[in-house]
Amino acid sequence: MFKISDLQSQEASLRGLKARSRLILFFLIIISLAGVIQIVKLTVIDQENYVTESEKNRIIRVPVYPARGLIGLAKDNKLIVENIVAQQLTINSKSTTDIASTIVDIQKTIGIPEEVVRTFYKVLSSNPRNRNITLMDDLTEEQVAKYLVNKERWPSSNLEAYLKRYVIDNSLFSHVVGYTGAISSQEREDDEEYRYSINSRLGKSGIEKTFENELRGKVGYRTVEVDVHGKEVRELEKVLPSKAKNIFLSLDQELQELARKGLRGRRGAVVAIDPNNGLVKVLVSSPDFNPNIFNETAKGDLRSLSFDTNAPFFNRAISGNYPPASTLKPFLGLLGLESEIISWSTEIKDEGFFQIQDEGRKYRGWKEEGHGIVDLNKAIIESSDVYFYELASKTTVDQIHSFLKPFGFGQKTGIQLTGEGDGVLPSRNWKLGRTGDSWFVGDTINLGIGQGYITTTPLQLAVAVSVLATRGKAYKPNIVEKVDTTFIEPELLYQIEIKEERNWKKLEESMISVIRSWNGTAHNIYNPEDFLIAGKTGTAQIKSLTEENLTVQEEYENVRKDIMNRDHAIFVGYGPVPNPNLTVVVVVENGESGSAVAAPIAKLIIDRYQKLQESDV
């Protein structure tokens, strides 16, 4: 175990290691010398220069934020979102050594809720370098008075006036204007141009978010001299911020109110657009919320709102996906005519159900006994399901997909709001990707009555119906009519050409008859003295009815016991004919009847709009 040769090799390796170590050490000492020389040069020889240099550093730039732009309606320039002055209490964390006792004292004297103090400490600990941090926003007059009396005791605190956001009509425009909120740490990290301070608020949803750049404006700055504690000594230069831009919406306040009243707080949405330019006149999602709670200009409980099963923050008008149901029938009729599967004179016998080659599953229509002999005109007026089952069975999903796409189904319209939904315009690949199954003929037949995989948002449906109103023109829906004084030009998305131009007109006549004709599904809203309206009702099934031994009516009676299983009521329409100027889509969730629940709201809006137009002239 003990060998002389081992010992020798041990000694040799130690010598070798020492020799190599000295070599490295020699090399490193040379480098260290360079470092030592540099340190001595900086701290001893050039010290004077650097002292001056560090003095110069005390001159800093302080950003100056412009007041946030306002939001109004293009009509009469009526304001709907403005800034109001409030007082906030800030703490300069650098100028006091004992923040905790100062805070406790202030809290006791003027009364500050515990959670506000907790938030303050959270911001403080995550931003140790920040000097001025808001302790409390929106002080009451009493709090301000109490503060002013005692302020000598807290030299590190400061009362500052600031502007806060106020939505004048509270909930009326909630889903459109959106709300502002305190800047998050992620947003601050992404803010590479230093456009925000730690106390900034910015748009979190709706117009407030999509037009954040315009509403914020360009930040200016002041050059100031500061002392060692960062406290301002004097101002040297000031560059004013450029004014923020104001946003004017195309919405109409009266129609908006009318739609909101019409929905009476039920879950649903109303969208109205001018088919000739895409300007949005009504965009209501119900139930709604008061954005001022987020803006912290109104008291309210956000928690209970966010746990509300009716989802008041969800913008159903642009994000809700609903089956278009029978409102899809005019489009499919047009497809049948275009591809020459049917003509206006094609007739079928509607006995209340449809079967592929008279066998297999029965696809039932909504009317148990059927509509008898039906042509396209009657199929639209009475909304015969069987006619469209048969039509769909003669087409393919590919045909339907490529025909409906230019109408805007299955794609975002590109409206300037946050959270727009896509809807679904199914295709073979879509279904394969989504469910792993291939496309079945039965799926196409369901498409025939706008059920199955197809869904649309109310806004998408409004764009599609506007194409019928304008005989082929699809405009991008536009809710911002002008930014400051610059009008936003209407944008034509696509122009649809069909072989027989007169089919537009004939289809429109069928849709007029939906209301005018005694057997039309929306005849209940007909008034011979009013303008002509073209429309179509729809009743979107939530739960499929499959019991063959029950009638549709009997089976639905069981289903409707649960309110959430009841059908959605839909109505689409435009008027007045000729020269329509408003397309309206109304969706009432679980409203059951398109004609009884949805159609009257649409009718009211179109009528009122005509009266408003007249009085404007």
Binding site: S13, S21, L28, G35, V40, L42, P128, V226
Partner: protein, 374 residues
Amino acid sequence: MSKRVLDYNLNRPFSSSGISLSFIFKDTVLVFSVLTVLVFGLFMLYSASGQSESMVIRQSVYVGLGFMGMLFIAQINPNSYQNILMNLYWIGLVMLIYVLIFPDESHVTKRWIDLGLFSFQPSEVIRLILPLSVAAFLTRKDLKPKYSDWFISLAAVLLVSFLIYRQPDLGTSLIVFISGFLPVFLTGFPLIFIFFGIAFLGALSPIIFSALSAYQQQRILTLFDPNADPLGTGWNIAQSKTAIGSGGFFGKGYLSGTQSQLDFIPESHSDFIFAVIAEELGLIGISILFLAYALIIYRIFSIAYGSETIFGRLASASIGFIFLIFILINVSMVVGIIPVVGVPLPLVSQGGTSLATHLLAFGFVLSVKRKSGW
């Protein structure tokens, strides 16, 4: 059994029994020097972070855990896990490949592994693992390494450096290469190869420069003229030089550095904390810190040379050099004589991974001492 141990055992007094401080610490001077720098670092971090108590508390937890880890490792016989150390290389390799394939989405560069509770950079850990596992590999037979051993080690080191370069992190990649090359060099790798290697790289340098990414080129160019763009890439260097220079001989006083407290030094709590020390405590403060560092390094080499095993000696010496090189690189970077590479000031800069690696390495050195004193 070597002669030294024999000598020692013959001369050993009978009275040394029971558990004393020196029994746990192994090398009281080394442990107390380390502790001094650690505490000093916490005080400087408080100043450099804008007096953030939460950051100091978090760092204190790392310091406490690292210190305990160091003492724990000090109690284990290093030869008992020489083989394990050798194979740690593979774990390091797997981690580096992992970050390249599954980068942590919350960071721009592919350097981080997120373990939920905390995230760390494998490249920081590899700086410790690599020299130890290379040393373990080279000394596994207690003989002078063969050429094949050296070249296998070199290939392993180059592979790791290349992976880090791809993260991309040129600075760390070079440092890891140096730390892995140290044991190879210390065991007597022929100098002629090194001269050829350097000559080869020198000839290729124009091609290498053009292959670097734009930001790496910019960093190197900034070095030569930091004043060219005082608000852009040269900002760090210019501000840190101003801080050091204006500190002068005595410094501006603790918590009173205008450069540090008014936030003119970017990354003042991590890579640039040396500038804060220089501004507030002056040349005197720096000298005291350097003295403590020198004591640590001196003790490491004493332990290394006194070790009876080739492995313990080689690994300890490598650790001593890496520690010294890190200090040199960080200080040279902060005073503006080399480009900015992301190397923290050992034991002082904020950050758990770097702190833990150094402390665990010291634990290893201490355990080598135990071996010789057994």
